[in-house]
């Protein structure tokens, strides 16, 4: 044996190369093979998950439509001072006339109209009416465009219309995000919208609050069930486990519809209450199409997500801990509270994160049983995606939701420690 440990230099392998390098070489093949094995999944996740999310996040700030549809006008408007109180110069109007004619010929003038309408209601009709006439504009010797345009639609004489166009001419905008937090760009920069136009912050608050309530009721209901699952003899525990999983395997739509049948005013619960005389027939309880309905139905639907992590943690706690506590003189309650409960916190944490994150993004159940008072922010997102077609706003709301989840996750990691979370 050579005395290679005495030299103080890097440790060498038998052939004289540094040991670290030979180790890397030996592990490289292994790493490559591991990478190849996960490659299909990696590509799938990238294409079907990461890229769409990235695209949607980009849409929340993307605003090329204005500068692309109205290239000359946005150029000309850059020298106009919106705070001067005067209308832009004839050159700007001429540029707008040219842009409108071109856009109308391509039939895209309404699109930019509805885009700007999100920011300043009324813009849509300005562009629609002007576009109709714009096809017949004689650009060479039509002029003066200022008077012509104002004649077509008197809103062109409103500086606010021009201000909106100027504000939203850059290719990137914070407008969607401002909108999503109930703000807008006013004459003095960002400002809160009037009280009655504020929708989204209240909706977000409601979503978070109701999700908390749902998480809490899941903890309360799931704890004893998980305890039974972990402590009953195997055969009974298996039966109970099937009962827990059975709703899990049933379609979400079916379960939500079942709650509709149970909770409605002519439904099973009200009928029973009236029958046993607890509630008067004329004063049936309203327990659906409100927050209560959403909380009840979602607690039921999300319960297995709380039970399973709790169960997997409780299963690993041997009964000898509680026995030891009792032999040391602790009453049943002290043994539970000081010895058993602290050891189940990782399970509660895991279940709570899971349920809470699922809850704040929930869509189907609040849509079906939530009415107007029990809907979540995701229902608004869906509305903007499929009905109002304001994808930018939908993306901004989605991005805010994502950020809230990440912040909560970070806070949880700081307080409880994500290492303490056990899912199984």
């Amino acid at each position: 044996m050579s005395d290679m440990t005495d030299t103080g230099g890097p440790v060498l392998a038998a052939d004289g190369t540094p040991l670290k390098r030979s180790l890397r070489k030996a592990l490289r093949r292994q790493k490559m093979r591991a990478l190849l094995l996960i490659a299909p999944l990696l590509i799938f996740v990238l294409v079907s998950f990461i890229m769409p999310i990235g695209d949607m996040l980009y849409r929340s700030v993307e605003n090329k439509i204005v500068s692309q549809t109205l290239p000359r006008s946005t150029q000309a408007l850059s020298s106009w001072d919106a705070d001067s109180g005067e209308l832009p110069s004839e050159a700007v109007f001429a540029a707008m006339a040219a842009d409108l004619k071109e856009a109308a010929e391509q039939k895209i003038h309404t699109r930019v109209g509805s885009r700007l309408n999100y920011e300043n209601p009324g813009m849509s009709s300005v562009f629609r009416t002007s576009g109709r006439k714009a096809k017949k504009f004689d650009l060479e010797n039509g002029g003066p465009w200022k008077e012509q345009l104002i004649e077509i639609n008197e809103d062109w004489a409103d500086t606010d219309v021009w201000r909106t166009i100027k504000t939203y001419s850059p290719p990137v905008t914070a407008g969607y995000f401002l909108n999503a937090v109930d703000m807008r760009v006013g004459p003095d920069g960002a400002e809160m919208r009037p009280e009655r136009e504020r929708i989204y912050m209240n909706l977000l608050k409601r979503t978070l609050w109701m999700s908390l309530l749902i998480t809490f009721s899941c903890i309360v209901l799931a704890y004893p069930v998980a305890w039974l699952l972990a402590n009953l003899p195997t055969r009974k525990a298996n039966l109970l486990m099937i009962l827990v999983l059975l709703p899990f395997w049933t379609s979400l739509l079916v379960r939500t519809s079942a709650w509709k049948i149970l909770l409605q005013q002519q439904g099973v619960i009200n009928d029973v209450l009236v029958w046993i005389g607890l509630v008067d027939d004329n004063a049936r309880l309203i327990i659906i199409n409100n927050q209560f309905g959403t909380i009840v139905a979602m607690t039921h639907i999300l319960l297995p997500f709380m039970i399973l992590p709790m169960y997997s943690v409780m299963q690993t706690i041997p009964p000898s801990y509680v026995r030891a506590a009792k032999s040391l003189g602790a009453t049943d309650w002290t043994a539970f509270w000081r010895v058993y409960f602290p050891q189940t916190i990782p399970g509660i944490g895991a279940g709570s994160i899971l349920v809470f994150i699922l809850a704040i993004g929930y869509y189907i159940t609040p849509a079906l049983v939530g009415g107007t008072k029990g809907t979540f922010i995701s229902n608004q997102i869906a509305f903007h995606i499929s009905t109002s077609l304001n994808w930018g706003l939908a993306s901004a709301l989605g991005a805010i939701l994502l950020a809230v989840v990440l912040v909560l996750y970070w806070a949880y990691d700081k307080i409880v420690g994500i290492d303490n979370v056990k899912l199984g």
Partner: protein, 366 residues
């Protein structure tokens, strides 16, 4: 107090039975009395009912029939936390979310003891097991042996009169186990506490206990001090279970007082001490300890009985030689001899003559 004959012990099991399913008895008619300050070991194979007995004493299982008395009081209806019995569990059951000191303070806290008194007691309990510097650690940061010490001192910190131990050394390696055996017995005797110790390891039972109760099939097969248990087993289960043992099977042909004559199955005739054979014609297992067999003619004692044997295997074990023989048709007959300078080393195939005293040869039930 209406003392009965059976209740003069500190811990008394009076005709205790236990069944889990209502069909079979796990513990059958158990009668046992443990004196104050005694170290009693319950020894037996798994499923013999020893742990069930311990759990009934601790209060985690209820007796189906019979009374358990502690200090003369029946405790069947007293919940575990009011029994004041210290217990050391198989896996230590140290609370993982508390530090060592918090673990030790727990039984004092639930007894509403003041903070300064509590701290003094915890410190003393830690010093008692030489773990004074470990109070701030978590159980997971300790080695198996250290955890064992903490579990022990936690069971003792509230000064119980009775301590139960459920195979506390099962998870330790051999060397550590031997050291802890010594330490547990030392502590138990120093503090004068009554100890009931459950194990399936016979060495542990022999080295630690004042008395050993050998369990099998839900009954106590023999209750005796270790030396008696080893040298004077009362039935063939105890003889087989404790230490190494040679058995030869045969039929009793004559009994007179404290000797009997056994005709082995291959026709050999033996003198033996009758233990639990009652009449001529009974089948019997004759039991001889390996170290009581002598093959050196010069050392054979007066009145020793001799038999022919063939050497099958010779194993050198350092301090002793272990030799396997064929004796009276039994291929598993083992003798142990001390590695002395003048000792012969036997060779496989050698024909020898072996002998023993009839008093070392016990005729037991078959």
């Amino acid at each position: 107090m209406a003392d009965t004959a059976s209740s003069d012990g500190f811990v008394v099991f009076d005709r205790v039975q236990k069944s889990y399913d209502g069909e079979t008895l796990v513990v059958k008619d158990l009668n046992l009395s443990v004196a104050r300050g005694e170290f009693l070991t319950m020894l037996g194979p798994s499923g013999s009912g020893k742990t069930t007995c311990l759990m009934m004493l601790a209060g985690f299982e209820t007796a189906t029939h019979g009374d358990i008395l502690l200090g003369g009081q029946p405790i069947n209806n007293i919940p575990p936390h009011k029994r004041g019995i210290g217990m050391v569990f198989q896996n230590y059951a140290l609370f993982p979310h508390m530090t060592v000191a918090e673990n030790l303070a727990f039984p004092l806290e639930v007894r509403k003891m003041g903070k300064s008194e509590r701290e003094a007691k915890v410190k003393r309990a830690l010093d008692m097991v030489q773990m004074g510097d470990f109070g701030g650690r978590r159980p997971a940061q300790l080695s198996g042996g250290q955890q064992q010490r903490i579990a022990l001192s936690r069971a003792l910190v509230f000064e119980p009169e009775l301590v139960l131990m459920d195979e506390p050394l099962g998870a330790l390696d051999k060397q550590l186990r031997e050291r802890m055996q010594f330490e547990i017995t030392r502590l138990a005797h120093e503090l004068g506490i009554t100890t009931v110790y459950v194990t399936h390891d016979q060495t542990e039972a022999l080295t630690m206990s004042d008395n050993v109760a050998v369990f099998d099939d839900g009954r106590i097969q023999q209750l005796a001090p270790p030396d008696q248990l080893y040298e004077k087993p009362e039935n063939s289960f105890v003889a087989q279970f404790i230490g190494e043992n040679n058995t030869l099977e045969g039929v009793v042909t004559e009994i007179s007082g404290d000797t009997c004559i056994v005709k082995l199955d291959d026709g050999e005739i033996l003198d033996a001490t009758p233990i639990n054979v009652s009449k001529v014609g009974d089948r019997t297992q004759v039991s001889i300890r390996p170290e009581r067999v002598e093959y050196n003619k010069d050392r054979l004692q007066e009145g020793a009985h001799t038999l022919k044997a063939e050497v099958l295997e010779f194993i050198y074990m350092g301090d002793i030689f272990r030799t396997r023989l064929r004796v009276a048709g039994n291929d598993e007959f083992v003798i142990k001899t001390r590695n002395a300078p003048d000792q012969d080393r036997l060779m496989p195939g050698q024909q020898i003559e072996i002998g023993w005293l009839p008093s070392d040869c016990r005729a037991l039930d078959a």
